[in-house]
Amino acid sequence: MSAAPATDGRDARTAWLLTAPALMLFVGVLVIPLAMTVMLSFHDWGQYKGIEPVFILKNWHEVATDPYFAEMFWRTFRIALLTTLITAVLGAPEAYILNRMSGRWKSFFLLVILGPLLISVVARTLGWALLFGGNNGLVNKLLMSLGLIGSPLPFMFTETGIVIALAHVMMPFMVLSVWAALQRVDPQIENAALSLGAGPFTIIRRIVLPQIMPGVLSGAIIVFSLSASAFATPAIIGGRRLKVAATLAYDEFLNTLNWPLGAAVAVLLLVALVLIVVGSNALIERRYAEVFR
């Protein structure tokens, strides 16, 4: 590619011109509001004076020192991590089995798995709330009639409940991600391992799993970041009693009306997520660079 400088300049101008609409939209609806939120987190707020556009670290100091916020954030990431683990442990085998199914069954079960994406998050989570519903919930009744538990388990307003509902919501993302990785696996490779004397368990562990691991990990990144920033599910299952970062920010904005503090929480959640996602992505890329390119 050896273009003369003159045409180079024009090419660059054309490129800028062509991307301008998308870029302006991006700046207008994402960069500016985000910058304003960051600015907001440095403003002052008082019960009677409202928001004062000054530059102070009061909100950040409060978020950093008050153990209440630390608890919220730990809970948020604990829930996200557990959800990610559950989707990985259930979703990866699910994708593998799905991939081995034939024709009609495959499309049917793919639809079942993608089903949650077709229903509103709120409707889905309310469905879970009905299933959990206190001591007389369907899930508890079922578990008790099966003799698995003696007394009803608390699902509503607990982390367990949030994790279960989130795992259901997030499952399609994990399954699709692993599914995409499975498409790149040579269909003869299991036969190759079989002919060399490997048993079914060894084939999964030594041959299939290492090859779909990048899919599992990228699925995990998606699920983790979506779970950590999820709002509807924790809001309905956890309610006011069990807050996570997203519902906390919401409450600061709309109930306490302390916008600057809510902004600080939101920005902190964003920064933490970006760091986690970028960090683990870099780690994954370095780990698998040799093998997958």
């Binding site: 040579d186 003869q188 490779i189 036969n191 190759a192 391992a193 079989l194 002919s195 060399l196 004397g197 490997a198 048993g199 060894t202 030594r206 041959i207 290492p210 090859q211 040799e290 093998v291 997958f292 390119r293």
Partner: protein
């Protein structure tokens, strides 16, 4: 003598019969090719030997023992796949070592055998490479080493060379044959490439539509094709219609105004089949006119129009002057170079 035996093996998928009545005995150390167009059932047969598919009918025996009751993982066969099916997350050495690990071969012996086998296929020094960093030919060699390192009783090759370019394929053919000879491993090759089958095999099994058309040495199948399919599939051939008149003595083979003494046996309408390189230009014979003349380096290719239809003639480029386009010629051949079949049927 029989080492691997397939006895009336058949495979059906639903109502469709993919392989039918396949019987073959393979001697120890023999190199046998399954040759046929795609969809003729050759790969299905190979997969039944490997154990990836179960035969619907028939038996497969290895050294007299029923192979179909043995798990594929326990059959101890080496397989090279068309796509190579290398493990992309393992280095060349790890790929080759996998089969030995599964056999719990001690570590020191394992690494020695891996090193020796990679050296044998010409990949010494490539132990730590990942498959995606290797060329197609190198990947092919790793796949071969991986199949051979376990010292398989039978080596199964499923179109192993079809993804290589022509020059590399020729090199690999020669190398594959040498390695096979040196090790004495009984080998079955599945291919649709007649040149590959002929240059590598001791015997060729020509297949069509799930059935065996002919089993024979490369020369036998080429020189004495058992059916029209075999003669068409293996190399170029000229077929034309003729009749044998038994009322005259001796019997006459007649095609248009051309006639020759008829060999014993057949009578009535027949198909005459002659290889293009066996036809010469002479003073007497079938009258024809040269339509096109193509120079192909070591030989000339003539397309002639005779009264029995189009005939292809191949002449060695031996420096002799050759007839020009449009020239009238006489096509002649020795009687033993011609094969006769009852018209429309098998020989």
């Amino acid at each position: 003598m029989s080492f691997l035996e397939l006895d009336r093996v058949a495979k059906q998928f639903g109502a469709q019969t993919v392989v039918d009545d396949f019987s073959l005995t393979v001697g120890k150390g023999e190199f046998v090719s399954f040759l046929g167009p795609s969809g003729c059932g050759k790969t299905t047969t190979l997969q039944m030997i490997a154990g990836f598919l179960d035969p619907t009918r028939g038996a497969i025996r290895l050294e007299g023992h029923d192979l179909t009751v043995v798990q594929p993982a326990k059959r101890g066969l080496g397989i090279v796949f068309q796509s190579y099916a290398l493990f992309p997350h393992m280095t060349a050495a790890e790929n080759v070592a996998f089969g030995l690990e599964m056999r719990r071969v001690p570590r020191s012996e394992c690494s020695e055998r891996v090193r020796a086998t990679l050296a044998m296929v010409g990949l010494a020094g490539y132990e730590e490479r990942y498959p995606r960093r290797m060329s197609g030919g190198q990947q092919q060699r790793v796949a071969l080493a991986r199949a051979l390192v376990i010292r398989p009783s039978v080596l199964l090759l499923d179109e192993p060379l079809s993804n290589l370019d022509a020059k590399l394929r020729e090199e690999m053919q020669i190398e594959l044959r040498q390695i096979q000879r040196n090790l004495g491993t009984t080998t079955i090759l599945v291919t649709h490439d007649q040149n590959e089958a002929m240059s590598l095999s001791d015997r060729i099994v020509v297949m069509s539509q799930g059935r065996i058309e002919q089993i024979g040495t490369p020369q036998e199948t080429y020189e004495r094709p058992a059916s029209a399919f075999v003669s068409q599939f293996l190399g170029k051939t000229n077929d034309f219609a003729a009749t044998i008149d038994r009322t005259a003595t001796p019997g006459q083979l007649i095609a248009g105004s051309w006639s020759a003494p008829a060999p014993a046996g057949l009578a009535g309408p027949v198909t005459v089949s002659i290889r293009p390189e066996r036809i010469g230009f002479g003073d007497a014979g079938l009258a024809a006119k040269i339509v096109t003349r193509i120079f192909q380096g070591n030989h000339w290719l003539f397309q002639c129009e005779s009264e029995c239809g189009a005939v292809i003639v191949i002449r060695q480029n031996d420096g002799q002057p050759q007839p020009a386009e449009g020239e009238a010629v006489r096509l002649a051949w020795r009687p033993e170079d011609m094969s006769l079949r009852r018209a429309g049927g098998a020989a």
